[in-house]
């Protein structure tokens, strides 16, 4: 298929449709309302379900219900709306049903504003909801990656019966870029629902899906099973991209919008004679800790750049374990750091680690 100019939010919705999503439940919020707009037009055309719920709390519980019935299902929101969904995330995680959610992050805390930000890293990666669990967290940096990772999110969610979250920000949602859509996958017919799904139990024993396990040892067994699954995901599903790291002696670590901005920083720093490389995490959980640890042996220093007060930098430090200097630069409240302010930070790091 040829490349077309896609707006990020519309591309995200269309990619989910191509991936065979059967139902979308959501509630509008800037800067991702175009996701709902696209679904609201396309899903009825295709005979699939689009439903605007009365709130984010309702939307995530509709997702939970449809997922229990074995449907490919998703919701989408932005920071304050995602906070409202967190109870549902925890129930879904414990029930071990697959679902895809997106967070097109905006400035916070509170109602904040609608400008692009990455303040929800901790929420997505460390604190998706109450109890012990992680979501798979995918962080695209451009529209093509947004499309590809949306399709991947469904596949991973079903492979591991878990939650997969796409985290982007308003600038990826609002921007347009040439990109290619995958071919349309058919919606899974009802007779091909997974064998754990709640489909009516005709001619078989009933399936039970629950997140309520009374009795400590009972619930610990469930937790041990969840942890074993998360360990498997951590071992198999780490993704990242590297730029000019082969001979780098300084390393940038950044993801999403500021990750691609750091690609420009690498080019400019190289033109100025600095040997700078970039590692851009694509999965924020599981985190590319092992690769960062390897690179920490090679480089003199690491600069982590984020659109927040310094969140992912904690995971970078955990990975580096003191092997080299780790510094942070970030902007908050919806301000996007640009190359001309990141470059001097690199120069400072360079001087510091001589």
């Amino acid at each position: 298929m040829a490349k077309e100019l896609w707006e990020g939010n519309a591309a995200l919705a269309e990619a989910a449709i191509r991936a065979g999503v059967e139902a979308f439940f959501g509630y509008p919020i800037t800067p991702q309302t175009e996701v709902l707009e696209h679904f609201s037009k396309r899903m009825p055309e295709l005979g699939r379900v689009f439903l605007q719920a009365e709130s984010e709390v309702a939307a995530i519980n509709m997702v939970y219900g449809a997922a229990c019935a074995g449907a490919r299902v998703m919701t989408s929101s932005s920071s304050p709306g995602v906070s409202l969904m967190q109870e549902g995330f925890s129930y879904i995680a414990c029930s071990e049903v697959p679902a895809v959610v997106t967070n097109i992050m905006r400035g916070g805390p509170g109602l904040g504003n609608v400008q692009p930000a990455q303040g929800d890293y901790f929420q997505a990666v460390k604190s998706a909801g109450h109890g012990d669990f992680h979501m798979i967290v995918l962080a695209p940096a451009n529209v093509q990656e947004l499309i590809d990772l949306t399709v991947l999110a469904f596949d991973l969610a079903e492979k591991y019966r878990t939650l997969a979250m796409i985290v982007a920000d308003g600038s990826i949602g609002q921007m347009m870029e040439p990109a290619e859509m995958p071919p349309m996958r058919p919606v899974r017919p009802p007779e091909e629902r997974p064998d754990w799904a709640l489909t009516g139990a005709k001619g078989r024993d009933p399936n039970i899906i629950t997140s309520l396990y009374l009795g400590a040892e009972n619930l610990e067994r469930v937790n041990l099973r969840l942890q074993a699954k998360l360990k498997k995901i951590a071992a198999n599903e780490v993704r990242w991209k590297e730029y000019s790291t082969e001979d780098a002696d300084l390393l940038l670590v950044a993801y999403g919008t500021v990750g691609r901005i750091c690609q420009t920083v690498v080019r400019e720093a190289r033109r100025a004679g600095m040997k700078v490389g970039l590692l851009r995490p694509i999965t924020l959980w599981p985190f590319p800790s092992k690769r960062i640890a390897e690179l920490a042996e090679q480089v003199r220093g690491i600069l982590t750049v984020e659109m927040n007060a310094g969140q992912m930098v904690e995971d970078v430090r955990l990975a580096v374990e003191g092997r080299c200097t780790v510094r942070f630069y970030g902007r908050m409240g919806g301000v996007i750091p640009l190359p001309d302010e990141i470059l001097p930070e690199l120069e400072k790091l360079d001087a510091e680690c001589r």
Partner: protein
């Protein structure tokens, strides 16, 4: 249009009031660049929107994978109104191009390190019968001055992407593009 081996990298800001067509002019650039197999990003400034409010987009066109879709100092800008002139006239990189809608912007640039093209775009558009063509007049001047995209690529983008409700204005848009291009010639 491009000499073999020359690197292509343009960062273009188009800025005006909501309703002046700054965002659409940027999209035309993006479609045309994609058609020429170049990398391109189009990103609007977004937020609470209203007619008469600020409207701005940044278009980056490159022959290599685009890192930052945003720039503080563009290589070119189209300013459609006075606030945009005040914001972006000082920002254009030395050696860059500034297209000024001189129908609505009386002041002159004091910069001698950029090429400033004054186009009475709103007057030209009014003479043609539709003041809303001013964005395309300015785009014609910019495209001609930059020389990284052929005018025909913008015409093709108009053919394919002018919204259905403005279809009867297709030929007028192309005419506006050519009228603007005359100002972009050296």
């Amino acid at each position: 249009m491009q000499e073999a081996g020359r690197k292509i990298q343009e960062e273009i800001i188009i800025s005006g009031f909501g309703g002046q067509g700054a965002l659409f002019a940027g999209q035309l650039l993006a479609y045309a660049a994609m058609d020429q197999d170049l990398h391109v990003t189009w990103i609007p400034s977004y937020g609470p929107e209203m007619r008469g409010g600020k409207a701005r987009c940044t278009v980056v066109i490159s022959d290599e994978e685009i890192g930052s879709p945003l720039v503080r100092r563009p290589s070119a800008a189209i300013v459609l109104n006075i606030p945009s002139m005040e914001a972006f006239e000082p920002a254009v990189k030395p050696g860059g191009v500034l297209v000024v809608n001189s129908s609505l912007i009386p002041q002159k640039s004091e910069r001698d390190d950029i090429r400033v093209i004054y186009v009475p775009a709103s007057d030209i558009a009014s003479d043609m019968g539709n003041i809303r063509l001013a964005n395309v007049v300015c785009l014609g001047a910019l495209v001609q001055a930059l020389g990284v995209l052929p005018l025909e690529a913008i015409e093709k983008a108009l053919d394919e992407h002018l919204p259905e409700r403005h279809r009867e204005l297709l030929e007028l848009n192309k005419e506006a593009l050519r009228r603007g291009a005359e100002y972009g010639e050296r």
